[in-house]
């Protein structure tokens, strides 16, 4: 797996990964659209079941630990995310659900907390996930509003596999020449 030939799509035959991503810098929004060849209930379950979501939320070789998940308006989803090699302390996040419409819509604000689950006071990330029936499966549309650059930077550093983050940090030095 470490030295596999890079294929553009061969390793990701499942799901549809067509372009699917739009960045609108002016409105600070990111739109992600994907279609999966499974019924809507399965996709909803993957987002709202604490065991299921932990299986795919974090990068490979990172572990997501769900401490609480109360999927209803005002309810919280508390999770830790950290690399398996322990190179970075796990981050703590609290997502507070705003709207919950089973098999249709999930809207939440995701914000960082400290190790005692006290919110750090950052603005948080407004995210809306829509689930709709699509030909042969389920379409998932995510719209997330990103805050300022420092929070973006933090989220990327905490959420990105260490190899990438390190590689990018070192490579960005190239620009300063």
């Amino acid at each position: 797996m470490t030295d596999d030939p890079l294929t553009t799509d061969g390793t990701r035959a499942s799901g549809t990964r067509a372009s699917g991503i739009t960045i609108d810098r002016e409105h600070r929004t990111l739109h992600v659209a994907r279609t999966y060849p499974v019924p809507i209930e399965r996709v909803w379950h993957a987002w709202t079941d604490p065991v299921a979501i932990a299986a795919w939320w974090g990068p490979h070789e990172w572990t997501t630990i769900v401490r609480a998940m109360d999927v209803r308006p005002g309810g919280e989803w508390r999770y830790e995310l950290g690399p398996d090699d322990g190179s970075v302390e796990p981050s703590h996040s609290i997502a507070t659900y705003r709207r919950v419409e089973p098999n249709a819509l999930l809207a939440y604000v995701d914000a960082f907390a400290d190790a005692t689950w006290t919110p750090t006071g950052d603005a948080g990330w407004d995210t809306e996930v829509r689930f709709t029936d699509a030909a042969g499966g389920t379409a998932v549309d995510i719209v997330t509003v990103f805050p300022d650059e420092s929070e973006m930077r933090r989220a990327v550093e905490l959420g990105m596999a260490e190899g990438y983050a390190e590689a990018l940090e070192r490579l960005s030095g190239t620009l300063e020449r």
Partner: protein
């Protein structure tokens, strides 16, 4: 805005030997032979890594006398320094993992303990 391309670049440089090659090229252009000598890898392996890096648009080569000289292209590195794109890449990869989760052997065939999918 082409996130798939950014993702391709990230995957290309995330591989440790390719990352070493990119690091080496940051110091200046080099021939394949010089990269082979410096990193102690086999020539076919280095050529393959260079081909992948070239396909991802990270390096390009020019021909000088009998040799091919490789150097970094500045523009893709600049792209990778963009936080918004990196954040988008995170989401793109997360959605790939969701797809793998939804269609993977353990989900689609829970009775199949060994997870073999053939």
């Amino acid at each position: 805005m082409d996130i798939d391309r950014v993702q391709l670049r990230l995957s290309a440089i995330a591989e440790p030997n390719r990352f070493r090659i990119v690091e080496l090229l940051r110091q200046g252009s080099r021939s394949v032979g010089s990269i082979v000598d410096e990193l102690g890898l086999g020539q076919p392996q280095v050529s393959r890594h260079l081909r992948i890096l070239a396909e991802a648009g990270i390096v390009e080569s020019t021909k000088q006398a009998q040799q091919r000289i490789y150097h970094l292209r500045p523009e893709p590195i600049r792209d990778l320094g963009d936080w918004v794109e990196r954040y988008a890449t995170l989401w793109s990869e997360r959605m790939d993992r969701l797809g793998d989760h939804l269609t993977g052997p353990t989900e689609s065939a829970p009775a199949n303990e060994d997870g073999a999918d053939r």
